[in-house]
């Protein structure tokens, strides 16, 4: 039986009066593209930091590819690549120097072929000899991704990797990360761009106040927590309330729809109630609505 890429059991961490992690259990299978979502202060970065050895948890078990991050930290860290949230860099070195140094830290010498491949995929080849200080924010962000990949880790954690990256570069970055995922790398992503998580992640965990409050496949989450919706602007909006709709400003009313099949019966009921429809919009279920719903319920 293959070990999970990531296994976290009963993780706890307290900073003074703040309970950053309050008993988190989580398993990510090898090869998954997994999303870790939550509002600011939910515990996402603390969880990632504990997994990568940057933070010492108060309790719990953290494993990467079956290696305990405390007792077998060398193998656990070799199996993990982390792209940090903050835009940090060492101003003394060029991009290539940094990547060679980072390879060396992981015990890898003569890594230039792989470094060249990463640089090409991240559109950084022309900047290989440039000092970090001279790069734009987006380029620095891509160098952080490159640094996380130099030792070819099977598990890659990306903590807000596209913050400050322009749309074109973001697309290129996701293309590369998807390729890595197809090649068998496990990807764990935290992001505030929920549409990215919805598009990319097969499974998602949502954290609030240091606890996992939702954990399922993206498809199931969309089905369970967020229905489609029908928004109509009515000549007599007060009719909507009697039919279960929520009246909003400008004569609009929103009706939840579990399935598209419910649309025709709803329109029929509106007609029967004598409501005259002036405008109509169909709303798709999306992760943002799921997120808001889950956070409100938790």
């Amino acid at each position: 039986m293959t070990s999970p890429a990531i296994r976290i059991v009963s993780a706890t961490k307290r900073y003074g009066s703040l309970q950053a992690l309050a008993g988190v259990d989580l398993e990510v299978a090898q090869g998954e593209f997994f999303g870790l979502l939550g509002p600011n202060g939910a515990g996402k970065t603390t969880l990632i930091s504990a997994l990568s050895g940057l933070v010492r948890p108060d309790g719990g078990i953290f494993e990467v590819m079956g290696c305990n991050v405390v007792s077998d930290y060398r193998n656990a860290r070799r199996n993990l690549g982390v792209v940090p949230q903050e835009l940090v860099f060492d101003p003394f070195f060029s991009v290539r120097e940094l990547l060679r140094i980072q390879s060396g830290y992981f015990g890898i010498r003569d890594n230039d072929d792989w470094i060249d491949e990463i640089l090409a995929n991240l559109d950084l080849t022309a900047k290989a000899g440039a000092n970090m200080r001279t790069l734009s924010g987006g380029m620095k962000r891509r160098v952080l991704v490159a640094q996380a990949l130099v030792h070819r880790p099977p598990v890659i954690v990306l903590d807000e990797p596209t913050a400050g990256v322009d749309v074109e570069l973001r697309q290129g970055l996701w293309q590369f990360i998807r390729k890595l995922n197809r090649d068998g790398h496990t990807i764990v992503l935290t992001t505030h761009y929920l549409e990215e998580a919805e598009t990319l992640c097969g499974r998602i965990a949502m954290l609030k106040s240091g606890k996992v409050v939702a954990l399922d496949t993206t498809e199931n989450l969309l089905r369970r927590f967020a229905s489609h919706s029908l928004s109509v602007r009515l000549e007599q909006p007060e009719v909507a309330a009697a039919l279960g709709g929520a009246v909003t400003a400008g004569g609009w009313a929103d009706f939840p729809l579990d399935r598209y099949e419910d649309l025709e019966p709803l329109l029929a009921r509106l007609r029967e109630a004598g409501a005259k429809i002036l405008e109509l919009r169909l709303g798709e279920a999306d992760l943002e609505r799921v997120f808001v719903e889950v956070m409100n319920r938790a």
């Binding site: 930091s49 933070v55 060398r74 193998n75 903050e86 060492d90 060396g104 830290y105 015990g107 890898i108």
Partner: protein, 255 residues
């Protein structure tokens, strides 16, 4: 290619490259400072003061200046590297890889020793035209140079980890390292001091580092070089154990 020591060697290489890339500031400037001390003090005092009977003051001064520069720069290397990395956040690139705390310690301290030795050798070289300096027992010079660098490199690691801002590090440097260095006999023999201050000097480990180092040049010193070696050795072991304990606990590094 993988091997067990590559991580340590890379961190050492990075730390050496870091100061070498700005060697004008990290090596050149301290050598110039020491040269200015030498020119001014030797001009003022050389004709008036002799030490150990017949040793000219300028000759007496040079080993003190070499050691003072070595110590201060060993401290500056590890402390400034760590606090800069902590404040800018790039310390995570050293904390994420599979480096042990012993490798971390060894790399930072050895890099500090190398910078100290570079600066010390630089001061010695620029002093040669001004002074006829014997080397009675080079092994002692080497031993105290290495030990002094290791002690101050360790102190630099402690200060760099402990300090949360540059202000705190400056306090460590100005209120601890600098007074201990200045009151250690760099510029004078402690036999020229009143008895009380001689006794105070004997509780200053920097005095033993400089006195033992000076013995290597003149074959004479204020106290036995063996006593100095013992004091310096105990200091090093104490600081090494303390630093390793801090690193093993992840004190202020792995929150």
């Amino acid at each position: 290619m993988h091997d067990g020591l590559t991580g340590f060697r890379t961190l050492l290489y990075k730390e050496v490259l870091r100061f070498w890339k700005v060697s004008f500031q990290t090596v050149g400037a301290p050598v110039l400072n020491a040269l200015l001390y030498l020119l001014i003090f030797s001009h003022v005092l050389d004709r008036h003061v002799t030490v150990y009977g017949d040793v000219a003051y300028t000759a007496f001064l040079v080993p003190g200046l070499v050691m003072m520069s070595l110590l201060q720069n060993s401290f500056a290397n590890s402390s400034s590297s760590l606090i800069q990395s902590k404040i800018t956040g790039n310390i995570i690139f050293v904390l994420l890889p599979p480096l042990s705390y012993r490798e971390f310690y060894a790399a930072y301290v050895i890099a500090s020793m190398l910078r100290g030795l570079f600066v010390g050798c630089g001061v010695l070289l620029v002093s040669i035209p001004f002074v006829d300096l014997p080397m009675a027992a080079p092994a002692w010079i080497f031993a105290f140079g290495l030990m002094g660098g290791a002690i101050l490199g360790s102190l630099g690691v402690i200060a760099g980890i402990w300090a949360d801002k540059f202000d705190q590090l400056a306090g460590f440097q100005n209120f601890l390292i600098m007074p201990l260095t200045m009151l250690s006999g760099v510029f004078y023999s402690i036999h020229s001091l009143p008895e009380f201050w001689q006794k105070v000097s004997h509780i200053n480990p920097f005095f033993f580092m400089i006195d033992g180092f000076r013995y290597g040049f003149f074959g004479q010193s204020d106290v036995s070089p063996w006593l100095s070696l013992a004091v310096v050795g105990v200091c090093f072991v104490f600081l090494a154990v303390l630093t390793l304990a801090m690193l093993a606990r992840g004190y202020k590094l792995r929150a």
